[in-house]
Amino acid sequence: MSDTFIIVGGGHAGVRAIDCLRRADFDGRIELVSADPHLPDHRPPLCKKFLRGQTPLERMYLRHEPHFARHNAVLRLGTQVEAIDPEARAVQLAGGENLSYDKLLLCLGARARRLDVPGSGLQGVHYLRSYDDAAAIQAGFTAGRRLVVVGAGYIGLELAATACELGLSVTVLELAERALARVVAPVVSAFFARRHAQAGVELVCNARVREFRGAARVRSVVTADGREFPAELVVVGVGNQPETALAQAAGLACENGILVDAHCRTSDPDIYAAGDCTRHPSVHFGGKVRLESVDNALEQARVAAANMCGQPLRHAHVPWFWSDQYDIKLQIAGLSGGHDQLVVRGDPAGSGFSVWYLRRAEVLSVEAVNRPADFMQGGKWIAERRRVDPARLGDPGVALAAV
């Protein structure tokens, strides 16, 4: 009898896992159970192109129907998994049906962190994770409206850029002293702050949201220092929490994410996990990390699939990320923690430059603004643990290949 592998979660990780299982020659039964009611879709466009209102859902499918048929995968959409029984090796679906598995892969993603302040339940206060969330926001995206975005992270800023291009009047409130503080170098934050200011977005840093005001609908956002920002629409983007409840209830080890090893295996040998819901050891950089990115979801899915098929594979890949705002493409490779030197290549006052993080001259990470070639080269160097001469790296007169 052939094996049954069940995948829970139809996001980037879950969908990629189907493909990778078949590429690894798994010929048993694959079932993908996802709470989302429609075919799995791309999330990145949800705060960009989709909000412009010209993108039907079919254009955002990760894969179209025939792909799943070709890969002989059964999709159970709009179906919540309510419990896992690791002893019986079965999952329980909403409605009570049980599905047995030989191996289980959890690709549960993350949920938008809620802002727990008075008024957070008012109409017009939105979070953004899923297609349905985005559709609700899009319905209120009318030129001239006042939008307050809480949080100057990637989602907040991308959304602000789109809204601004559509003629909304946009204010972004950020708790930290600069935008993207957690994720990029100050010079990159400054670059984006300038670009948003140029477009007419009001970016307010050091602003702690204390309250949303309004009767039934939100009318304003109040910060801790008493300032009041009028709002007809609010989108909160203040980070995510990994989806761990299901795993926790099943007794799997969790700690700010479902804990997995470098093979994407959880504390149960027959249960694997991939994507935003996991925390994993970083083979390249050391330590444990939780990454929220499409790349990480895809790569962990590949690693998990191989190991589920008995082909040992470690998650040793150099992570990468991107963000699109206006005409700017930011691309990041590697992880910057532990660096002892920052090198800027190119002119941050111009339209493209890159920031390099070094540790004892070894390249750890690169943040490339409109510089795809720097991003590509950086990724290779990071993987090779290449050491560079910081002076030559910072000299735009020296070709990258000659650094």
Partner: protein
């Protein structure tokens, strides 16, 4: 700026021999599993009342093949999905992948035609480039040259539309509204339009 280049495909002439696919695969030396062009066999049908004899039901059946590659769409879904900017639409309308900045993430596989193909050895995406070398020297595309039925043509899309009409989607091709493909199809007789078929894909590739 030149006009949009595209494909004309005559489903009423195709016999499903796959010479197009083989010639293309050979030209680009693609590994197993990587096909810029594929051939799909589709068949189906239903019972219908005989036109003149009362009470008699007769079968209405169809079986035909479709050869399809990248359609160099007006609204390419692959281009939207690409995170690195590696996919671009050129002045002649061709949708091309820059292998130098492709990271091989495969997000462009959201193409409803399944056109972008991941080349595992190279670690990048690859797909039909309209045989750019042949365009440059005025020659014929590999698939076009290979077809013994003369069912495939490549050239000026507006010209094809003028000559053959505007049908771009018969089953099992996706609804052309999704990406506006640069494709004109002469349907096989009885072939249902995209989204209206009850038949099944018998074989692909």
């Amino acid at each position: 700026m030149s006009g949009q280049l595209g494909f004309y495909f005559d489903a009423s002439a195709c016999n499903g021999c796959k010479a197009c696919l083989v010639m293309c695969k050979d030209k680009y030396d693609n590994p197993i599993g990587v096909n810029f062009r594929k051939v799909i066999h589709y068949s189906g049908g239903y019972w219908e009342a005989h036109p003149t004899q009362k009470g008699i039901m007769v079968p209405h059946v169809y079986a035909y093949s479709i050869s399809v590659s990248c359609n160099h769409c007006a609204e390419p879904a692959c281009l939207d999905a690409c995170p690195t900017g590696a996919i671009a639409k050129k002045a002649n309308g061709l949708v091309v992948i820059d292998k130098e900045i492709c990271v091989g993430c495969r997000l462009c596989e959201s193409c409803p035609y399944d056109a972008p193909q991941f080349n595992e050895e190279l670690g990048v995406m690859t797909m039909c480039d309209g045989c750019e070398d042949e365009i440059a020297r005025g020659g014929r595309q590999a698939c076009v040259a290979a077809c013994p039925q003369r069912a495939i043509q490549f050239g000026d899309l507006a010209g094809f539309r003028e000559q053959y009409g505007t049908v771009a989607g018969i089953e099992p091709l996706p609804d052309p509204a999704i990406t506006a493909p640069s494709l004109v199809v002469t349907p096989h007789r009885n072939s249902p339009l995209s989204g209206q078929g009850t038949g099944e894909v018998k074989y692909e590739r």
